[in-house]
Amino acid sequence: MAKSNTKQKITLSQLAYIFIQSQIGVDILNLSTVLHREAGADGWIALLIGGVISIFFVLMILHISKCYPGEGLFEILQSTFGKVLGALVGFGYYVYFLVVAIYLLTSYGELINQWLLPETPVLVLYALLVISALYTISGGLTLIAKVFTFFAIILFIISALFLFGFVDAKFIYLLPMGQASFSEYVEGVRVTIYSLSSYVLLLLFIPYTEGSIKQKTRTLVGAHLLVISFYLYTVIVSFAHFGTDQIDHVSQPVLYMLRTADSVIITRIDIFVLAMWTVFAMTAFAAYLYAAERAFAKVPKQKKKMLNVYSASVIVLGVAYWGGLNEENIRSIIDFQDKITEAFTIYIPLLLFVLSFMRRKDKQKGTAQ
């Protein structure tokens, strides 16, 4: 019944949608507040700079993928660092993906508990999210691609709903520009790159996409620009809506903005947006869970592979539940994530990038001789 994953191929547009959906997690609801705390009214400029820098990361990932044709992240790690070290770094990535998945899960649970269902046990929400993600993953790459493509329509619906935020917007709040210090900019850029960090996942999808590297580059840069503009759009809307004084004290400015918006047919658009946001939370979570599953791609038996995913999701559920028990636990999860994110999304890709040049020279030598 189940086809082997390696033979499944996805199209370019599916790749783009996978990329977009895995970028937009729960974080973005809170991004404007965080950016404002780091860089003040210039937060959106920091976002722009961070976005431009992250494009280079995407290009870097594309280059790495080009140098190792047909190899996914874990295979690349093996062939770059050797067997033992490669397995070690691969395990590191496995842990990293799980940690991000845990983070997504806890932040989703927290969000829903805060806004919609204060009395529902958070474990129920976790379980539902995990079940739907598992259902997606178990269909393999093509199903993930289809599901992600289908739900992309929600991005456009939500973007349209955000227009309500412009009703009370005062763009004068975006001024004055250039007030933040250099270190504040750096912090803002760092936050931005972290929240756009799912470009690492691309290494798992690019080799299974049909099309030349040039087409892939065009598609992915386009998708990335779309994501950045969506980020920029939400941040600017919430900055302009709330202004410098308020935004620091609002936890999900985008939602608050819609809460006050008044439409004729329904009130409280935020509730609908939040319900739709579940889809983004699910897709981003599924993307990371799938990434963790790929760590076992070499396991030949499909059944055993799924067993690994199930065990991984039990771990995720367990840790997320533990994290949800009190503030301290959740803090420690976020701290741990912050610590390892830098290594896995910036340093290791950079290292791979540099090493890929050396490999290319090796190859050229090999062909010359």
């Binding site: 547009s13 919609l116 269902l117 739907s132 289809k146 009130t267 409280r268 509730i271 889809v279």
Partner: protein, 498 residues
């Protein structure tokens, strides 16, 4: 299947041999022995008539109820008289010296002529044809367009298709299914348009069916569909030749059944259940409008009750201020929680529907009035169900009947239940998760190995959610991977270019 595995004392039963695979039984020169063998093989059935001709040297055997006496007179006795009793001079006959073949021929409605001292049997086709007139199918009426429909005679059905596609590449492959019933089925497709891999897949699946009887198209589809446990239909069933032909020309395969007016079409997509022949017969803007209404009705049919329950139970804030007091007023005096109300109302509607189906139409409309008006009004006055819930459920069931396909409408009505339960537990989040699971499930599904539910992309939009003018629909659906992707020879049409 594996719930009650019995490994040790599994029952043994004799294998049934199909008529066309019977080992030959040579006939003898003795007339009496031959007749006795046939009588025994047919278990001395009373409708087997043995007509001894004058002189008792020749006999004509036939099954009384499935042969036509007129034809017998015309094809056997009249020529026999003209040829002075020499059977071998008559044309239009088959012959064999295998008595088992003779038995099979009898069962098909042929008559068997046996002569003393001659080991050869002669078969004459005198089958009586019982057919219904061609009528418009009851449940697939159209306003404009052809009004003929399939009936129980497979030959006539193929005739209706052949008349519409007069090309040599229209292929018809007949097969029989069922060891006892030997029901004839016909796979119909247009060679060169259909994806050959799909035909092969379907043929192997049909070959693998092992059953005593093939009773209906629905049972047949359960043998060969991709996901038996899914609630969505995976074969489009229709009784309309024009619909069948348009699907054939898209590159799909039609399966016709003997003694059954239903035609199954595969592989299909989810959207096919929302298309009606009317769409192609009206202005494209009108058709698009109706398609959008159908899409809206789909969303309404599965989410409206759960949406209402979620709003009433969890998210009052969503209701505009002016409406809050009427809504609250309506549900304040109801004793039951909304979910009980909803389930109660849904069951009432199902009762009305199910009781009305098999009744003759005058009584059926009475049931509608009693059910709809009397119960609907009384149930509100009695305080069992709120006004609003009656509106909600009535709208939902109306919406579910908008679907042109009967099976899909049934599936939709079942789908409301899990969503009602989820929404009464988790509100909007529950609905989101429910829809998420349904959509993932749809994305997972396949029809004959091709994807069942493709995400809406711009190119697929043209004949799914909306309908664009014909000149813009130059491509066959992507899903089918047809070897002839364009619908005409002229590829460089000015209109169709992207």
């Amino acid at each position: 299947m594996g719930f009650f595995k019995q490994k040790n004392n599994q029952q043994v039963q004799e294998k049934v041999i199909r008529e066309d695979k019977m080992p030959p039984h040579r006939s003898t020169a003795s007339l009496e022995k031959n007749i006795r063998y046939i009588q025994e093989e047919l278990k001395n059935s009373t409708d087997l008539k043995v007509r001894l001709l004058p002189g008792n040297k020749q006999a004509l055997l036939y099954l009384d109820d499935i042969t036509d006496p007129d034809k017998m007179q015309r094809y056997i006795f009249t020529p026999l008289r003209e040829m002075d009793g020499d059977i071998q001079k008559i044309k239009d006959r088959e012959e064999s010296d295998d008595l088992n073949k003779a038995v099979s021929a009898l069962l098909e409605g042929k008559s068997v002529y046996i002569i003393e001292g001659n080991a050869t049997c002669y078969f004459f086709n005198v089958q009586q044809n019982v057919t219904r007139a061609i009528m418009e199918p009851m449940n697939e009426k159209v306003i404009k367009g052809s009004h003929d429909g399939f009936n129980e005679d497979i030959k006539q059905n193929i005739n209706l298709i052949r008349r519409r596609i007069q090309h040599r590449s229209l292929t018809i492959k007949k097969q029989t299914v069922g060891d006892y019933t030997e029901s004839e089925i016909a796979l119909v497709y247009v060679e060169g348009i259909v994806n050959p891999g799909v035909v092969k897949e379907l043929e192997t699946r049909v070959k693998n069916i092992s059953s005593d009887a093939l009773l209906s198209a629905g049972a047949f589809s359960e043998y060969i569909e991709d996901r038996t446990y899914s609630i969505f239909p995976q074969f489009l069933s229709t009784e309309r030749p024009d619909k069948t032909v348009s699907q054939l020309m898209e590159g799909r395969i039609a399966i016709l059944f003997a003694n059954n007016p239903t035609c199954l079409i595969a592989p299909v997509t989810f959207y096919a259940f929302y298309q009606s022949p009317d769409d192609y017969n009206t202005r494209w803007l009108v058709a698009t409008y109706i398609r959008l209404i159908r899409l809206f009705s789909f969303i309404l049919a599965i989410t409206l009750p759960s949406f209402y329950i979620a709003v009433v139970g969890f998210h009052y804030e969503v209701i505009p201020e002016e409406l809050i007091s009427p809504v609250l007023g309506a549900i304040r005096d109801i004793a039951y929680p909304p979910i009980v109300e909803a389930v109660l109302m849904v069951i009432v509607i199902e009762l009305i529907r199910e009781s009305g189906i098999r009744l003759p139409s005058p009584i059926g409309s009475t049931i509608g009035i009693v059910g709809g008006l009397v119960i609907g009004d009384a149930i509100v006055t009695a305080g069992l169900v709120s006004n609003l819930m009656v509106i909600v459920i009535a709208l939902t069931s109306l919406a579910s009947f908008v679907v042109p396909s009967n099976e899909m409408s049934d599936s939709l009505r079942i789908l409301t239940f899990p969503l009602i339960i989820l929404s009464s537990v988790l509100g909007f989040i529950g609905i989101t998760f429910g829809l998420l699971m349904v959509l993932i499930h749809l994305c997972r599904m396949e029809s004959l190995g091709l994807s069942y539910f493709t995400p809406i992309q711009f190119r697929d939009l043209k004949d799914t959610v909306i309908r664009v003018p014909q000149f813009l629909m130059k491509r066959r659906p992507e899903q089918l991977e047809s070897p002839r992707p364009y619908k005409s020879n002229e590829l460089s049409d000015k209109h169709g270019k992207k």
